[in-house]
């Protein structure tokens, strides 16, 4: 298959799927108190057949270093996606991971530097900076095309899901327990899955500790 044909092929495939009357799954994630939870990665893993091979996107995902923070905090990508780490600060940063899905270290780098890495194993990668303890981020690498990260309203709308049985996976950096469930996607319908999650307390360091209180507070 020649390269120019690839998008066309994909398009045909997508149209065929549509024509095959794909379903929609709307997932709403709320915490114990009923508040919507952002930064939750929801994904559907087909149970009847192997997941279809997903071509990685052409453009890399971006996790930037800005204001001594990684932005965004949570990034969901398909297996094989490239992720670029630009430094928009005027100071140096370092990036490292010790996660099995992608252990790496990007050495201390100054303003304007940009490194790109391919995340080719499914899993969760915790990112840190050797210099700034407050800097923390996650890259979630998924082997299914059906995934989304919830925005601030806690609602993810997974469209174009072929009918069939799926496992609905849920992941959040502070998730307590595993609220995964099996669902059935039917044609031409929008099924709503309400997921209630328990979250551990947020232990992220404050970005700029003010040193007040003399350490006795």
């Amino acid at each position: 298959m020649s390269r120019p044909l690839l998008p066309l092929f994909a398009l045909v495939l997508a149209l065929a799927a549509t024509r095959l009357a794909a379903g929609t799954v709307v997932v709403t994630v709320k915490d114990d108190k009923g508040q919507p939870v952002a930064d939750t990665v929801v994904s559907l893993v087909p149970l009847d057949s192997a997941a279809a091979a997903v071509p990685p996107p052409a453009e890399p995902a971006v996790v930037s270093q800005q204001g001594e923070e990684f932005t965004p905090y949570v990034t969901a990508v398909a297996v094989g996606t490239r992720v670029s780490f630009p430094n928009h600060d005027k100071i140096h940063h370092q990036i490292y991971s010790e996660s099995p899905a992608k252990p790496f270290a990007i050495p201390l780098h100054g303003p304007g530097a940009e490194q790109t890495l391919v995340f080719d194993q499914p899993g969760i990668v915790a990112l840190g900076c050797n210099i700034h303890d407050a800097m923390s981020a996650y890259v979630v690498i998924l082997a299914t095309p059906h995934f989304l990260k919830t925005p601030s309203d806690g609602t993810a709308r997974l469209a174009d899901v072929p009918p069939g049985r799926y496992r609905l996976d849920v992941w959040h950096p502070r998730l307590k327990g595993d609220p995964r469930r099996d669902i059935v996607v039917t044609a031409d319908t929008a099924a709503t899955q309400s997921i209630s999650v328990s979250l551990k307390p947020d232990k992220r360091l404050r970005r700029a500790p003010d040193g007040g209180g003399g350490g006795y507070k």
Binding site: H92, N130, P209
Partner: protein
């Protein structure tokens, strides 16, 4: 009665006041001594506690210093730091120091190059000028080749403890310095207060007239004027490096035992560390003890009051009884006896009073007896001066009377009946004798010896005696009439009357004296009496010529002048001749008296 009641009350009050006063003095002294000792102990305890707290403060600071210095030594080996150092980017270094600051909980971390220039600080608010105290420490550490150095200073106008630790690359090459600091602030003061319960205040004495509170656990964070005054007063001691003594400073809520220590500052005037501990909690257990003591004292005082009242009553009541009894005795009641059931002096006094009553009643009885026998004048004279009556030769008329046939009578009657009869007889006879001014000298069984003209001389003693004899006869007739009515045989009597010169006086031992007479005339009178038994004489009364001679001339006698003349006719005398009397040469001429 009222004065006695007052006296009684006064006595009990005096005893009460004495006992209570003594007890109160003892208890009050005890209370004061205990109270003062307690206060001193509390002060000492508080001072010891404050001194310990001062050491705890130093040790807490020391531990923090060691902890931060240890952390700095770990930072020295941090690879990220070395990477950042290689970039030469001090802003990155500053952000790394912030990470360190959070990691090791160090409020301030600064970094200096080997020359002591400030490269980066974790606290963006810290100005370069605040680096001076660190530089001072670094210079001293370099000069003295110290592995670390610390001191007190102000950062951002606040009291801090500063620590400098060398940055080795590698050891022992010093390529820079860590400067760490933590504030001595209100949180620190409260941390100490939580463990020691001591009020803690750091005060800047610069300028001296306006001390500034740097950190305190005192309410409203201001220095009470009284404490400021104490500090000002003790500031002079600083110059002489004398430790100020503990003082008791009155603050609004309590009195505080106050300890002041000075802390040297880097290139500045020392600051004062004021430690204070309230006295009341220290005294609480002591106060409990004192209250208990107070309660016990009050109970003791009350008990003493009751005891004093009981005691005073136990003394005053018998005294009152004794007084009442004395009044009774004074009123002449010798018969009643005072019984105090006690062995003490009052009991002895009561016994003595009873003995006195016995003595008095004995005396009274004696006087009574005398009254029966002699005229009151004679009795009084005898009682007044018995010796005046002794040893006089004088003329007296002696009367002897004897019951005839008494022996026969005694066989018929019981002893009791006999005695009753005898007394009845003697009573009548005595009455007759006394009615005529005679004195019963003695009773000798059923016989009576009576005197006329003694102990008080009587001019008509002989007349009286003869009249008495006739009266006795008459009285016996009367008695016999009564006895006849009772079925008792009549009594018979014989009387002898003689007048002679005899010795009159008190005769007997020194224990027992009887007024009597002795002499031949007495025997004659007795002999005359016995002669009445001679049947031929036909008389019951026989007298002697001496008595007849002693009679006063008969005619001029007014009926009222003599008690005998009115009731009895003049006696008649019938001569009976002469009879010999034993012991006398001359026989005695006798007469029957009718």
């Amino acid at each position: 009665m009222i004065p006695r009641a007052l006296r009684f009350r006064r006595f009990s009050l005096r005893l009460l006041a004495l006992l209570l006063g003594l007890l109160f003095a003892v208890l009050a002294t005890t209370y004061l001594v205990v109270s003062r000792a307690n206060e001193r102990t509390a002060h000492d305890h508080a001072r010891a506690n404050l001194e310990l707290t001062a050491r705890i403060v130093s040790s807490t600071i020391g531990q923090r210093i060691e902890s931060l210095a240890g952390n700095a030594k770990v930072m020295t080996g941090d690879d990220a730091l070395k990477q950042v150092r290689r970039t030469g980017n001090n802003r990155t270094l500053a952000s790394l120091l912030q990470s360190f600051s959070t990691r090791v909980n160090a409020p301030v971390i600064t970094f200096y190059n080997a020359d002591g220039d400030l490269l980066a600080t974790s606290d963006p608010a810290m100005e370069n000028e605040n680096a001076d105290p660190f530089r001072l420490l670094i210079r001293e550490a370099i000069d003295q080749d110290l592995p670390q150095h610390t001191g007190f200073s102000y950062l951002k106008q606040e009291l801090h403890v500063l620590i400098v630790v060398p940055y080795y690359a590698p050891y022992p090459n010093v390529f820079g310095w860590f400067g760490l600091a933590f504030p001595i602030d209100r949180a620190f003061a409260w941390k100490i207060r939580e463990t020691t319960a001591v009020q803690l205040t750091y005060v800047s004495l610069d300028p001296p007239d306006r001390p500034r509170v740097l950190a305190t656990t005192l309410p409203d964070h201001s220095l009470p004027p009284v404490l400021a005054a104490v500090l000002a007063a003790n500031r002079d001691r600083l110059a002489h490096t004398l430790p100020p003594p503990t003082e008791i400073v009155p603050l609004p809520d309590d009195r505080y035992v106050t300890l002041i220590q000075f802390r040297a500052m880097l290139g500045e005037d020392p600051v004062a560390l004021v430690l204070q501990r309230p006295l009341t909690p220290e005294l609480r257990s002591a106060r409990d003890l004192e209250n208990y003591l107070l309660l016990t004292s009050l109970v003791a005082l009350a008990a003493a009051a009751v005891l004093a009242l009981v005691l005073s009553r136990s003394i005053s009541e018998p005294v009152r009884q004794l007084a009442a009894h004395t009044e009774k005795i004074a009123a002449g009641d010798y018969a009643s006896r005072l019984t105090l059931d006690r062995a003490d002096e009052l009991g002895q006094l009561a016994t003595a009073m009873n003995q006195m009553s016995v003595g008095l009643s004995e005396r009274d009885r004696v006087r009574d007896l005398l009254d029966k026998n002699v005229s009151p004048e004679v009795a009084a004279a005898l009682l007044r001066d018995g010796s005046a009556l002794g040893g006089q030769e004088r003329e007296v008329t002696i009367l002897f009377a004897d019951l005839r046939g008494f022996t026969t009578l005694s066989e018929k009657l019981t002893p009791h009946e006999l005695l009753t009869l005898l007394n009845r007889y003697l009573d009548r006879m005595s009455a007759a004798i006394e009615a005529h001014g005679g004195v019963i000298d003695k009773f000798i069984g059923d016989a009576i010896m009576a005197l006329f003209g003694a102990p008080v001389a009587q001019a008509d003693a002989a007349d009286r005696a003869l009249a008495a004899a006739l009266a006795m006869e008459k009285a016996l007739v009367q008695l016999n009439t009564e006895l006849a009515a009772e079925g008792i045989a009549p009594l018979a009597i014989g009387i002898g009357v003689n007048t002679a010169r005899v010795i009159a006086g008190n005769i007997g031992s020194h224990r027992r004296l009887n007024y009597s007479v002795i002499g031949d005339g007495v025997n004659v009178a007795s002999r005359l009496q016995s002669l009445t038994r001679t049947p031929e004489y036909h008389t019951n009364v026989i007298t002697s010529a001496a008595t007849l001679a002693a009679r006063r001339p008969t005619p001029p006698r007014s009926p009222a002048s003599s008690p005998s003349s009115a009731s009895s006719p003049l006696p008649t005398f019938r001569p009976l001749g002469t009879v010999p009397v034993k012991g006398r040469a001359e026989p005695v001429e006798i007469f029957a008296v009718g």
